[in-house]
């Protein structure tokens, strides 16, 4: 069973609205895969839906898992108020993680905003490959965990939408420059706003590079039962598409399997 009551063992405020929590969760640290998520009960109120948050890091030695989240609305606000020693009611690990292939020599991750969080644990799965990280935020003030990404990457590119630091533009544009310059990885992993993912999916097809994207959708159950977290994927059916579900069939999909709408 994926329901756990875990203790918060570390809490760090990364910037004005972003927090990193580490939980003690032996089972979870053993089985969880990068790209999977936790479905977190943020409130004591029996009527508040859980919030999906990706796994940021896994420490099997310490039996811990950590996640990073931005305060957006009521749920994440309550979550941010929890402290070390508090218990968290989570469903985890949920969904499918990223496909990791140890024969890959060169991997690239592209993350926009809160989309960078699931990509960190993923990079750690590639100790030997050449790792390019492209991370983007709206503005330098919003940067979090850049240093960690820089430290673990062989090439590190950071972007800001407003040009206040690094590459002026989004991660898809930065990726395009890399690809055009002939820096072609064996795989691209991307997570972030849909527009960015759509652009990256197109680039991956154009340059014929396998690409996985992690999608976001509003969720209720988190386990494939309620069907609210629909996303369009390709299908053999007459229409050519079907509604898959981000929580169960994803959140990670092959970019070519997704039906991208404009």
């Amino acid at each position: 069973m994926n329901k756990h009551l875990v203790e918060i063992v570390e809490k760090t405020q990364l910037n004005s609205d972003t927090y990193q929590f580490t939980i003690h969760a032996p089972e979870l640290s053993d089985s969880a895969l990068p790209g999977q998520f936790l479905h977190i009960n943020c409130s004591s109120d029996v009527a508040m839906l859980r919030r999906p948050i990706s796994i940021f890091d896994i420490d099997k030695a310490k039996y811990t898992v950590s996640f990073v989240f931005q305060v957006r609305g009521h749920g994440t606000e309550l979550l941010a108020k929890k402290n070390v020693g508090d218990k968290l009611d989570i469903l985890a690990p949920l969904g499918n993680g990223f496909a990791v292939n140890s024969t890959f020599k060169s991997v690239c991750i592209a993350g926009g905003g809160i989309g960078i969080f699931p990509l960190f644990a993923l990079l750690k799965q590639y100790p030997d490959a050449h790792k390019t990280s492209i991370v983007g935020f709206t503005s330098v003030g919003k940067f979090v965990i850049n240093d960690e990404f820089a430290a673990i990457s062989d090439k590190f590119i950071y972007c800001t939408d407003d040009g206040s630091g690094g590459f002026h533009g989004n991660t898809a544009q930065a990726l395009e420059l890399q690809l055009q310059a002939g820096d072609l990885p064996d795989i691209i992993y991307a997570c972030g706003p849909t527009m960015m993912l759509n652009a990256i999916a197109k680039l991956s097809m154009q340059f014929n590079i396998p690409c996985q994207v992690s999608l976001e959708e509003r969720m209720a159950c988190g386990i494939g039962a309620c069907l609210v977290c629909a996303c369009k994927t390709k299908a053999d059916s007459q229409s050519g598409w079907q509604h898959s579900h981000v929580c169960k069939d994803g959140p990670v999909f092959w970019a070519q399997d997704v039906v991208w709408e404009n």
Partner: protein, 302 residues
């Protein structure tokens, strides 16, 4: 003490049923819950042909509740029969097939098809607010409900539960029409039609604009309607709408419900159905009720 109840010829070991659309086909929750401990499972609303449902977002959280606009995405009745019934039959929970249609003919065909299968009951969903044609249109008038219930009744000997919509002026007359036309039981409430707007995007949050409200927020309305209906029909009533804990379930059974369905609460606590069943049992023990029927008769009005 006896927790079992009969809904028509449907015998339930206990009065807790997973509500349609909130428990998939049981598979997803089987990891969390021993399905043998549930009275029954009402499966995701089925249609004659597979359906992809509405576009996303299909969900919006609201105070004490949620809106959904899934729009009956499902693999179709044939897939259900071939792939899902065998799985569910491994467990003692009774199988309730929730069916929805665009037309009278859809309902009739599905009822006839399911009549030959190993299910325990049919729940006639004439109350889904999230599809364009049919469904709630049938459920919101005496004529509509009479037509569809009598037609379906003629096609099946299975226990026939009619699921009512709260989006009506007088749910009693709808319930009475269902009873008159051959329903073995009624279940209520389906979702209340609602809306939520994103004030930054200046658009409704749901891609479908409107959706169905469920969860704790609707409980007082659901309870009142269940109370109204149990006081006018003679067939069993299955109560639901915002049940989040065993205390809520007891409220519905005091209001006269023979059994309860639990929907939205599963999303927050996947173990809730079992916790409710356990809580009902403990309450009956401490209060010395020997049967659900006793509980159903215990309410004193002010």
């Amino acid at each position: 003490m006896n927790l079992s109840v009969n809904i028509g010829s449907l015998h339930l070991n206990n009065p807790v049923i997973a509500a349609s659309g909130c428990f998939g086909f049981g598979r997803e929750y089987s990891e969390y819950v021993d399905l043998n401990k549930l009275g029954a499972i009402s499966v995701k609303g089925l249609t004659l042909e597979p359906r992809q449902g509405n576009a996303a977002p299909r969900c919006a959280e609201t105070p004490g509740g949620m809106l959904n606009s899934v729009g009956l995405q499902n693999p179709g009745v044939h897939y259900f029969i071939e792939q899902e019934i065998p799985f569910l039959r491994q467990y003692s929970a009774k199988i309730i097939a929730n069916i929805a249609g665009n037309s009278l003919d859809d309902y009739c065909q599905m009822a006839a098809i399911l009549d030959d299968t190993d299910i325990d009951a049919i729940e006639l969903n004439v109350s889904c607010p999230n599809v364009k044609a049919g469904c709630m249109a049938f459920g919101s008038s005496v004529d509509g409900i009479s037509e569809v219930v009598s037609a379906v009744r003629a096609r099946t000997v299975k226990t026939l539960i009619v699921k009512l919509t709260p989006n009506v002026r007088d749910i009693k007359e709808i319930a009475l029409a269902a009873e008159r036309n051959g329903a073995d039981a009624v279940s209520l409430i389906n979702t209340l039609l609602g809306m939520a707007i994103d004030i930054n995007k200046k658009r409704p949050i749901l891609a479908n604009n409107y959706g169905g409200l469920s969860g704790a927020a609707v409980k007082p309305v659901a309870l009142r309607m269940v109370h109204e209906v149990t006081n006018c029909v003679k067939i069993p009533v299955i109560g639901m709408g915002g049940i989040c804990c065993w205390q809520d379930a007891i409220e519905f059974m005091l209001a006269g419900a023979s059994a309860v369905m639990v929907g939205t609460a599963n999303f927050i606590n996947p173990l809730i159905t079992i916790e409710i069943a356990t809580g009902i049992e403990a309450y009956m023990r401490t209060q010395n009720y020997l049967s659900i029927e006793e509980l159903n008769r215990a309410l004193k009005m002010n």
